[in-house]
């Protein structure tokens, strides 16, 4: 053979040195035609990995928001002083604050400043009302009470009794009581996300199993040849494992990249909302680590499935 032909051959086989049947020769040849991201298998895996990762990200994000919201709403009680006369209201507010502060289990207390209240209602009523009418709109005063432990009905009742003793104008509400429906909706969403992840994982496993089976069917002749040439079961299995593992890893990487783009874009959107509850849903580094595990697990699953499928078929041969 001419020099030329040698180099041509080696050039052609170059990329395949990275994978394929290393073990069956340390060199160029691929025993099984490599899809190298062609054929449906890597793309099916890419889509499954992307969907699984997105569902997982949603689950984790909602989970983060839920636990943050839980801490926030469980320990919070709001006292409103509904009294139209400003001077009376200010006095009553101070008295109620003083009374409640002394109660056991109260870890913090804050009289919400007037300006903050104004800014809260401004979007609805507009500014400049005081200038226009010569008198401010009577807005209830707010006291934000933090409890060391959860706002149980008894605790809320104690606070209510203490506040009412100062003035009948006090209205006491546990924050959780009005946040609870939101909270519960989030928990349902979280359960939904977990169920989705479980279903997608099953579908991913099924896709991988089918892919391994069809690869085996398409290459049965080759398996038999290598088998008859004295190849061990492990050698043959390894060739398959590598070939399918390569495809799965490629598909998984593409899928994860796709999921990342979607997750980051969605995160931006939610950040734009500027709502406290959603902000708390940001993913931490452990969450990202979990997401990165999805394609790795998919690849492992693909390789293990391929191995067992091939070994099973080989056992039927002598």
């Amino acid at each position: 053979m001419s020099r030329d032909a040698t180099t041509r051959r080696e050039r052609r086989l170059g990329p395949s040195m990275l994978h394929g049947m290393r073990r069956l020769g340390g060199g160029g040849a691929e025993l099984i035609p490599q899809g190298r991201m062609s054929g449906p298998m890597p793309w099916v895996i890419a889509i499954m990995v992307a969907l699984t990762a997105i569902a997982l990200a949603a689950g984790l994000s909602i989970g983060n928001a839920v636990s943050a919201a839980k801490a926030e709403i469980e320990g919070g009680v709001t006292i409103q002083i509904i009294e139209p006369r400003e001077d009376t209201r200010d006095r009553q507010t101070r008295d109620v604050a003083k009374a409640v502060q002394q109660l056991p289990g109260v870890s913090g207390l804050r009289i919400v400043p007037r300006e903050e209240l104004d800014s809260l209602i401004e979007p609805w009523l507009g500014s400049g009302i005081a200038e226009a009418t010569g008198s401010a709109i009577p807005v209830p005063a707010l006291i934000d009470v933090r409890l060391a432990t959860g706002a149980t009905p008894q605790r809320v009742e104690t606070i209510r009794a203490a506040a009412r003793k100062v003035t009948q104008a006090a209205r006491v509400d546990a924050q959780s009581s009005w946040l609870r429906p939101v909270f519960e909706a989030m928990v349902s969403l979280q359960i939904l996300a977990i169920a989705l992840v479980a279903l997608l994982t099953l579908a991913l496993a099924a896709a991988v199993l089918l892919a391994a089976r069809s690869a085996l069917g398409a290459n049965r002749d080759v398996i038999e040849i290598v088998h008859l040439l004295g190849g061990t079961d492990k050698q043959v299995a390894r060739v398959f494992q590598r070939s399918i593992g390569f495809d799965a890893a490629g598909g998984g990487a593409v899928g994860l990249a796709l999921a990342m783009v979607v997750i980051v874009l969605l995160a931006r959107r939610f950040e734009g909302l500027g709502a406290g509850l959603v902000d708390n849903g940001a993913l931490g580094w452990t969450d990202w680590l979990l997401l990165a595990l999805v394609p790795i697990l998919a690849t492992l699953l693909a390789m293990i499935t391929a191995r067992f499928t091939v070994l099973h078929a080989l056992r039927k041969m002598l």
Binding site: M1, R9, R12, G26, L31, D221, V222, L228
Partner: protein
Amino acid sequence: MTAEGEIIHFDNVGLRYGTEREVLSDLTFTLYAGRFYFLTGASGAGKTSLLKLLYLAQRPSRGAVRMFGNDAITLSRASLPALRRRIGVVFQDFRLVPHLSAFDNVALPLRVAGHGEKDIAGPVRDILEWVGLSERIDAVPATLSGGEQQRIAIARAVIGRPAVLVADEPTGNVDPEMALKLLRLFEMLNRQGTTVVVATHDLDLLRKVPDSLIMRLERGRLADPTGALRHPPVRRT
């Protein structure tokens, strides 16, 4: 007990596929190291079936088989690959790997046996030159003629210097000149110690190897052209 020079021994072996009638019956013979055997018989007589037993693609339905001193019937599955590597096979239908070049097909047994790439290139080129296919070293089987594929298959069977070479109609697709040349290759390997078993119904071929021994299959049983059953297969006179 293993006789002197015995390499393979069949004792009262029978083979049936599934629940069909036996395609091989009452086979008792011994193959000795370094001999050259022809296996003849009409189409459907059972030549390929017998060779399958020899290259361990099939277990007999009854009888005892001893190979290289091992009981081939009770041998564990795990020890079969090592045994197979000592047997080179030219399949009747070649069985080349379709996606591999001529070079890689021929190199396959060496790779399976774990040889390094630097020990592979030289011998593979040499053997391909010997069978006259240096020019087609990069070609995949689909682009080769039947005779060329057959020669690749032969090259693959002999590349690993097997103790036994089993060839099923190895000259079926080549012209008489190439057939003779391939036969010379088999003889050369045989002189270097390889036991050769060639199945053929080309009776002309038999005459071309003077020292060969002939086994004749007739409807699944070993017979002799003269009608007198002789085991082990006798030297042709």
